[in-house]
Symmetry: C2
Subunit: 281 residues, 2 copies
């Protein structure tokens, strides 16, 4: 049992049965061998920040489709059953937009937001740097610039294969007037666990006892690489019981945990071990 997923919503205990995988890369671009004066050299040599922006702009099109050659080759289409299950989850788009402070959502056409954030692969820049980032103006044409780019993967994408496709593609689109170094920082396989096992049924009973509400099944957009390792090495399906909420600022300042869920979570886990012990007798 792992508690590293989230409840779908307030008062809605949730069992997560699918996780996205991850390929996390770093791109380092070098232009001239030292920082230059942009007045004296601008127009003579390529600028690594401009070149990096160009590379990043070619990773996805403006409708969020990933352009890396072969990226979607192993992606399983969503089944109708799965689409129907997603539709049963409560979701209010206006509320979602208001909570995040955005005027417009963004993602692949033909998929709902829930599908896009949990069951479709995605690509995000997680960081970028280069040149002068302080207050005011400095007219530098920098020597280097870099970015971190991660991709969330779904069955049956393989992180090692995606790493190679990413590397080949970035090498292909990098202008010859700069040099690029591509490094892999992290990877994890996607995973889906069966939802009809005795252990999952024990978890359902435990959550109902802990929260007084029937639990739902959901997929999570994040990645927990060890879930796949447990399956491959130990043959064990992980049970993903999480008690955080989506608006509790995970990985962000002011991360917090609802005390009611903390207490009901403790009860649920206790019930779960008790239910599990009955199965093993």
């Amino acid at each position: 049992m792992i508690s590293d997923t989230a409840m779908y919503d307030h008062d809605l205990p949730s069992i997560c049965y699918g996780l996205r995988g991850l390929t996390y890369m770093q791109i380092d671009v070098t232009g001239p061998n030292k920082d230059l004066h942009s007045g004296s050299f601008g127009g003579g040599v390529n600028n690594p920040i401009n070149a990096l922006a160009l590379i990043i702009s070619k990773l996805k099109d403006e409708k969020d489709n990933i352009l890396i050659d072969g990226f979607y080759d192993d992606v399983k289409p969503l089944s109708q059953k799965e689409k129907d299950e997603f539709k049963r989850l409560p979701y209010d788009e206006e509320k979602f937009k208001a909570e995040l402070g955005v005027d417009e959502l963004f993602g692949e056409e033909g998929y709902t937001t829930i599908e896009r954030t949990s069951a479709r692969p995605t690509l995000d820049c997680n960081g970028i740097w280069g040149g002068f980032a302080g207050e005011g103006a400095k007219t530098v044409l920098p020597s280097t610039a870099g970015a971190k780019v991660s991709m969330r993967l779904v069955p049956d994408q393989d992180p090692a294969k995606i790493e190679k496709l990413f590397t080949d593609y970035v090498n292909k689109i990098t202008p010859k007037s700069v040099k690029v170094r591509i490094t892999s920082l992290h990877g994890g396989k996607p995973s889906v666990t069966p939802i009809d096992t005795p252990a999952i049924k024990a978890a359902m009973r435990a959550l109902k006892m802990g929260f007084g509400v029937e639990p739902v099944f959901m997929k999570e957009g994040g990645s927990i690489p060890i879930v796949n390792s447990f399956k491959e090495i130990l043959g064990a399906d992980a049970i993903l019981l999480g008690f955080g909420l989506p608006d509790e600022n995970a990985h962000s300042p002011d991360e917090h945990l609802d005390l009611n869920n903390f207490h009901n979570g403790i009860l649920s886990v206790t019930y779960f071990y008790n239910e599990l012990s009955k199965l093993n007798k």
Copy 2:
């Protein structure tokens, strides 16, 4: 007299008669109102780093042509006389590439490197930032990202007009799924000074006495906004006598000054004031 330009080459005393102008802008992009977990939210909302990279990639095409609507409208074409003068300056492309450590130069087609770095307008990113830039991997979908972008201007471009064109264009190309704030940080008009005045002739005599070599005329890609203010407000043409060399790492670590030029520069300036005092008698 201002000593803020460079000598064209070693042992080649130089009088600068043209400077590029400058418009220096900052772009701040905001996506969601807080940093998010890229697994849980990736695919749902636009990522400000990806959006910023897209914006930057649309400022220039892949041949270094600036795409801002109206940007080239007021640019005077290079005269044949000017092109001929540039051709007389010593320039070794292989040496230039080797000094900067690049395999390929980059700039507008149809212009030489000297023309592109001194007499054509250019656009460079001077800095970029956003998200996680430390060692290793953090799966954040950041709330904000920003960049500094400057443009070198030539006669008769006006920095205030270019600032407006830049702002309108960036607003036009920014995706609706993010917000953008555009700020002007600095601006200066380009300038060209006449080269047949008594004061310029005095400077030519002074440089010849100081260095023992006939000086050359050159344009400089950098910007010294006060040169234009001296002309507009005082009616005075500035004499630009600089004694730094292009490979002395201006605006970069290990900036330095050749001692021989330092001493000959002192002599030249002394001779210059002496020659100038004769004119005023």
